[in-house]
Amino acid sequence: MIIFQNVSKYYDFHTVLRNINISIQKGEMAFLTGPSGAGKSTLLKLMYMAEIPDEGNILIEDLDIGSMKMSQIPLLRRNIGVVFQDFKLIRNLNIFDNVALALRIRGVAEKETKALTSEALKKVNLRHLADSYPKSLSGGEQQRISIARAIVAEPLVLLADEPTGNLDPGTALDIIRLFRDLNSQGTTIMIATHNRELFRGTGKRVLKLDGGSLVGEELG
């Protein structure tokens, strides 16, 4: 469940998000679209508290972000899997350890970590790169590693920021299929993208953001 109530966000004197109201059910899958600079990434960042709203309220599952203590932030983030627009892989760790990190942070036993990590790498078709380091991977490969890391711990909520930006159309559709599988198992998912192909024919809600305001909604 994701709820935004009259949320606004300013950077300096410039409004990035204006009076946003969103309600996404538990187990729902929705898209967020809009031109570059519309505020998609910022909206996602508010959900995992990389940014703090200047006005309004945000609820993620049962957690009220506004009244959350600093010490609860890790707990919130461990319930959310994020595919970052800029991947955010750790240079010093190989691909396996990058993905496994999400489990180690959660204190999952090492044996289980190995099994789940291999499985997640298999889902993005990159098990053969387990021992490589991020810098030797193509943009699309790095993106899929970032996806594997976001899903490996089976979070309640999955936020994906332009998750197919570096992928060819075929691979992009594979990833959407993967997300729909996860969604059918109960994961709440929000995908930010300006690629209309991704949501066409999905029948899911598509929220349209422009200039920091929600300007409409359609079904994909």
Partner: protein
């Protein structure tokens, strides 16, 4: 936890030059502490026996009856500060004097009467060997019946005590100064490592890592630097000890009696670990999530 160790050891290897530098710095600092401890330990062994040698001479009045001497003896025996008592009769005193004078004992010729007094040589218990208690004890004994005078080396009593105290103070100052230095070295090293991994730490935070999870590898790394510095210091100290006892003692034989405090083998690496962890804990400080 095993993951934190893995990360720490990877970083130890990756940043080997900076780490090696601080291990050497910590090692040589701890070596200085060791040499101080080593020196003091041996000084303590030597001076530890000094108070036992400190004695007080109690001269009896002339011509005391056997019974009166017995009285003095039993009163002295009851004192809590007395370790040892030895009676020296008039005859023994004269014999000793003659031996001391040796070739020049013609001085004593023509003496019909033995002019020397009978005495007790009294050793004090260790804790009472200082100027204040010695003076108090001497005063009390002097007031006893049958006692003529009490003699003791005031200056010696004071010196023994002063030596012990100043040695303790100096070692404490050296230890604290160097410990502070070691903390500072690990602090700076871990601070640098921390900044080098700033990006990684930001990612860890976004993935939901707790402060403890992020901190642990740095604390382990700081502790490991301290530990290796400690081991290095121990090796250095032992090499120094071997050099002094086996080589230098040919020239200065007394050095052969030096003792290597066995506790150092554990204490030094342990000190390194503790100081290293303190330094890195200060370096990381409070994390903002």
């Amino acid at each position: 936890m095993s993951y934190s160790f893995k990360v720490a050891f990877k970083s130890l290897y990756r940043e080997k030059w900076i780490n090696l530098l601080s291990i050497f710095t910590v090692g040589s600092s701890l070596l200085i502490i060791t040499l101080t401890v080593f020196f003091l330990y041996n000084l303590e062994l030597i001076t530890g026996h000094l108070p036992e040698r400190f004695s007080m001479m109690i001269y009896l009045k002339d011509n005391l009856a056997q019974e009166e001497v017995q009285n003095v003896l039993s009163t002295l025996r009851k004192r809590p500060d007395v370790a040892k008592l030895k009676y020296i009769s008039k005859d023994e005193a004269l014999k000793e004097l003659k031996e001391t004078l040796h070739d020049t004992n013609y001085i004593l010729e023509g003496l019909d009467d033995n002019p020397l007094a009978a005495s007790f040589e009294m050793r004090l218990k260790k804790d009472f060997v200082n100027a204040a208690s010695a003076a108090k004890i001497a005063g009390e004994i002097k007031k006893m019946p049958g006692i003529d005078s009490v003699y003791y080396g005031e200056k010696i009593a004071e010196a023994i005590n002063l030596l012990k105290r100043s040695v303790e103070n100096i070692s404490l100052i050296i230890f604290l100064t160097i410990a502070l230095g070691v903390v500072f070295v690990t602090y700076s090293t871990v601070k640098i490592l921390f900044y080098r991994r700033k990006e990684e730490i930001e990612i860890l935070k976004l993935l939901g890592a707790t402060g403890g999870f992020i901190r642990a590898p740095f604390l382990i790394e700081g502790g490991a630097i301290g530990l290796m510095g400690g081991v290095l210091g121990t090796i250095g100290a032992f090499a120094f000890y071997i050099a002094v006892t086996y080589r230098l003692s040919i020239v200065i034989p007394i050095l052969k009696t030096l003792v290597f405090p066995p506790g150092l083998l554990i204490a030094l690496p342990l000190t390194g670990i503790i100081l290293g962890i303190i330094g890195s804990a200060i370096a990381i400080g409070r994390l903002r999530l």
